[in-house]
Amino acid sequence: MPMRVHAIEKVVENTPIHKTFYFNDRECRNAEPGQFIMVWIPGVDEMPMSLSVIGKQQAVTVEAKGEGTKKMHEMKEGDKIGIRGPYGKGFSLSGEKKLFVAGGTGIAPLMPLIKMSGGKKTVILGARSSHLLLFEEELKSMDVELHISTDDGSEGHKGFVTDLLEEMADADKKFDVAYACGPEIMMRKVLDFCLENSIPMEASLERYMKCGIGICGSCAIDGYHVCRDGPVFESSILSKIEDFGRWKRDESGKKVEI
């Protein structure tokens, strides 16, 4: 799909390190939750980003991390960005009792999924510290059971989101389906929990990406390509991927530890 160039319609500062950039792109209006786009910052970089808002207006939520994302944080309403996509396989909507587990920026692709899905929804949201919790207020205003966890204990449970999973298992909560996005070590733990408890699970993966369209192979994880076979993978596949939670590849294609 050829690239479209749009002016940014609105910029919202969510946390000291997160900003959400709104735009209006016809192709993205009906994207599936979990799908991603390639965002071009003219003359700087192009990066894969999951859509955090889907509808009449769409958006990506960006953590200022590397050179490209820091440049993006300097961008204002009216500045132009290029968009390719939406690409890849998103989350599937199924089950009645749903669990969403998000670490850090990982809540971004889960937001449209949480909004679109019905049933009873439990969200575990984690971050390093209270002021970095993304979309906390929005989630509080929604019909979800929200559990918070911070690494430093400044809000909610002190520790990791995966600790809360264990507590829920003890409380004998039965989930029909679980969705996860966040650091891969976290997602690996969520997968192990779900396999133990026979809960079907889906996770959105991230890898260094060049083409976004399934030809260059940069985002290979075992024999799968995150851009075209993913970025959302289901637990039956994740449990077979040896690289998952262990290895990724750098720009040269060399395997490096996660």
């Binding site: 160039v5 003359g43 192979g217 720009e251 294609g253």
Partner: protein, 292 residues
């Protein structure tokens, strides 16, 4: 309908090869192409290269523009990736700055591959690829030929292809692979910025097919060694056209973007149907049919 073909000493169960640079970074990716007669690896060199920054691909109406910049982990690391790989045949694509480097990489990769493809045609990698001087081609090919005991192919681009192919043949090449992507550019007019981070890249896909067919047709006049046709193949008819022009086999790259990896299985089937409908007993009878 027999699809078997051979390129010099390399025999293949069908004439369809996965072109270098497409889904060949990792073993897992390459093993998705077991239907291909052969797969060609990512171009590898002596050392690790990260390649160019993004954007490295532009999707255009009639093809793709890319400038990856020869990203690869270096031949030693890459060997770990491909040793014991389960595919029909594997061709190791290599690049080098001079004959010594070409020969060293060839020697290293020889143990894991069935043939070598010398990349002398990447249109956007400076003195590597297409920037490799024509007057050094013959020496580089003979250096590689001397260092390995497997077939050596030379991949060339459209520029100066006749002279470069003759030089490769003089050096002892077993086949010519023609063509690589065509040097091209795309500018975003809203921001007045060239889209690729490298500004210039290589154009592939249906738009370049007639150029590739012309090159193969003219080359089969220029050289006596076999030719592998590449450029814009997405259907069985495209394969037939290249083979009628004189190609003994073909490579498919961007076609995977249009039809997915199943393109190899599908084109094999379509080729058999086409041969039957047109009363050719075997694919080999098509080679050079337009040259009679």
């Amino acid at each position: 309908m027999c699809l078997e073909t051979s390129v010099g000493p390399l025999k293949m169960k069908n004439p369809l090869m996965l072109a270098s640079g497409v889904l060949d970074m990792t073993r897992g990716s390459m093993e998705r192409f077991r239907e291909a007669g052969a797969i060609v690896t990512k171009s590898v060199g002596m050392g690790e290269r990260k390649g160019y920054g993004n954007p490295s691909v532009v999707e255009l109406e009639h093809g793709l523009l890319n400038a990856m910049g020869l990203p690869n982990p270096g031949v030693d690391e890459y060997l770990k990736e491909i040793e014991g790989i389960d595919v029909q045949k594997i061709v190791g694509s290599i690049f080098g700055k001079d004959e010594h480097e070409f020969a060293r990489v060839a020697k290293k990769i020889e143990v894991a591959v069935d043939a070598i493809e010398m990349n002398m045609s990447c249109p956007h990698a400076g003195s590597y690829g297409a920037g490799f001087p024509t007057d050094k081609i013959s020496d580089a090919v003979s250096a590689v030929k001397e260092s390995v005991n497997i077939p050596v192919f030379v991949k060339l681009g459209m520029e100066n292809i006749g002279r470069r192919a003759r030089a490769a043949e003089e050096g002892g090449a077993d086949a010519i692979v023609a063509i690589n992507t065509v040097r091209a550019m795309s500018i975003d007019i809203e921001t007045a910025v060239p889209i690729l981070s490298n500004k210039v890249g290589g154009y592939s896909g249906p738009a370049i097919k007639p150029i590739g067919v012309r090159c193969v047709y003219e080359l089969s006049e220029e050289v006596d060694i076999p030719i592998i046709g590449v450029g814009g193949i997405t259907t069985a008819e495209d394969v037939i056209e290249y083979m009628m022009a004189g190609a003994s086999a073909v490579q498919i790259g961007t076609g995977v973007y249009y039809r997915g990896e199943k393109i190899f299985e599908e084109i094999s089937k379509e080729l058999r149907e086409w041969l039957e409908a047109h009363e050719y007993g075997r694919i080999k009878d098509v080679i050079g049919a337009a040259r009679a």
